[in-house]
């Protein structure tokens, strides 16, 4: 009660604080929502769930925006919130989206059919990657983080991260280099 009374006394500074907080949040949303949404999508493999997680992530970010001191760290900060939010989803429902076979990937790309097919194959393979290999790759390619930064976000040591990145790329490369053989063996 005394707090709110004090707040009222300095209401002008409070409201100007609110305006600047709002501005920070606006620019944060505009600058990073694409990356955050894509990261969420590749983490969970579902468009709608990805949107939900993104919503929750940004809402939490708003609530604790004051704790973000350095704007350069914003992306890593948001991704940390997002990962926690994603983990929370598994606590809530005992239903693992990643275990569902990712047969369904939206066709959202134009271009030649050959490119298209290759990309489609790559997307399927990325979603099939083990999460422990997929996540460092997402952080590196979508997030643009260095090995060190990835290690920090995932709470691993750098060598482990580099090994996982190596394996992730290796697996994807193999698939792309022998798609026909694979197709034949399947057929």
């Amino acid at each position: 009660m005394f707090d709110s009374w004090r707040n009222k006394k300095s209401s002008s500074t409070v409201s100007s604080d609110m305006v600047s907080k709002q501005r920070r949040y606006d620019s944060l949303v505009r600058a990073l929502h694409t990356d955050i949404y894509r990261y969420a999508y590749w983490l969970c493999g579902d468009k709608h769930v990805a949107e939900d997680i993104t919503q929750e992530t940004f809402l939490r970010a708003w609530r604790s925006l004051d704790s973000l001191k350095d704007e350069k760290a914003a992306k890593a900060w948001l991704i940390t919130i997002l990962r926690r939010e994603n983990a929370r989803r598994f606590e809530r429902k005992q239903f693992n989206y990643s275990d569902v076979e990712q047969e369904f990937i939206e066709d959202t790309f134009s271009g030649s059919t050959e490119d298209h097919a290759e990309q489609h194959l790559l997307q399927r393979q990325i979603s099939k990657l083990e999460l422990e290999y997929r996540e460092p790759l997402l952080l590196q390619v979508i997030g643009g983080f260095s090995g060190e930064e990835i290690a920090k976000i995932l709470d691993l040591n750098r060598n482990t991260v580099m090994t996982r990145l190596f394996r992730a790329r290796n697996q994807l490369k193999d698939v792309l280099e022998q798609p026909t053989i694979r197709g034949q063996s399947n057929g």
Partner: protein, 234 residues
Amino acid sequence: MDELKFRRQAYGEPNNQDPEFLQAAMESAEREAFLNDLKGLDNKIENALKIDVPDDLAAKLLLRQQLQHHHSQRRRTGFAFAMVASVAFLAGITFTLLRMGPVDLGQHALAHVYHEDKALHVDQNVQYQDVNFQLASLNSSSNMKFTQQPGKVFYSTYCDFQGVQSLHLVMQGESGKVTLFIVPLEDRMVLDEAFADNKYKGMGFETDNAYMLLVGEGAEDLNYVKNEIKQTFI
């Protein structure tokens, strides 16, 4: 940098800008081709990861936050309102309870006389019927009245004895004026038979329906008026 380390680094981070790594990549045409191959793969991965983002996602995120913010502000003002309301409620209760406390009629009567000093300086020559009319409208179930004029009445008005509506009269005593308070009976009143300060003397007695409080400068005046009242008031 040996081949194995180079390959591991190339796989791990093909776009590594570390000078040592770049130097190692230049060492042979094979290495360069190998690295370019991986960079090509990385471009493909990057494009593959670029799934479409819903057009209105940014707008939705901002809207959701605005709503949330609005709600929390509403909650905060609601809380403040509840606090103010309960404080007001508490103040009301306290005030009512305080008024319920025992009332010392004597001290109150003296204070009243001092407070309404002008009452002793007016002469309205009030008839006892008018006084009866005022008595009848006091907040009391019983019928108090004067049967006849109790000497001269200079002044008559309602007054408040700690929340009890009473009558304030100024009457002619033997030599000076006497103030009479008629207070309907109530449990929490404490009546002194006699009270005084250095200017006025007072006496109190109880009739069937009311406390009578007399305040005047001399004891003779008080007794005189007391007798008048005993004869005329029922």
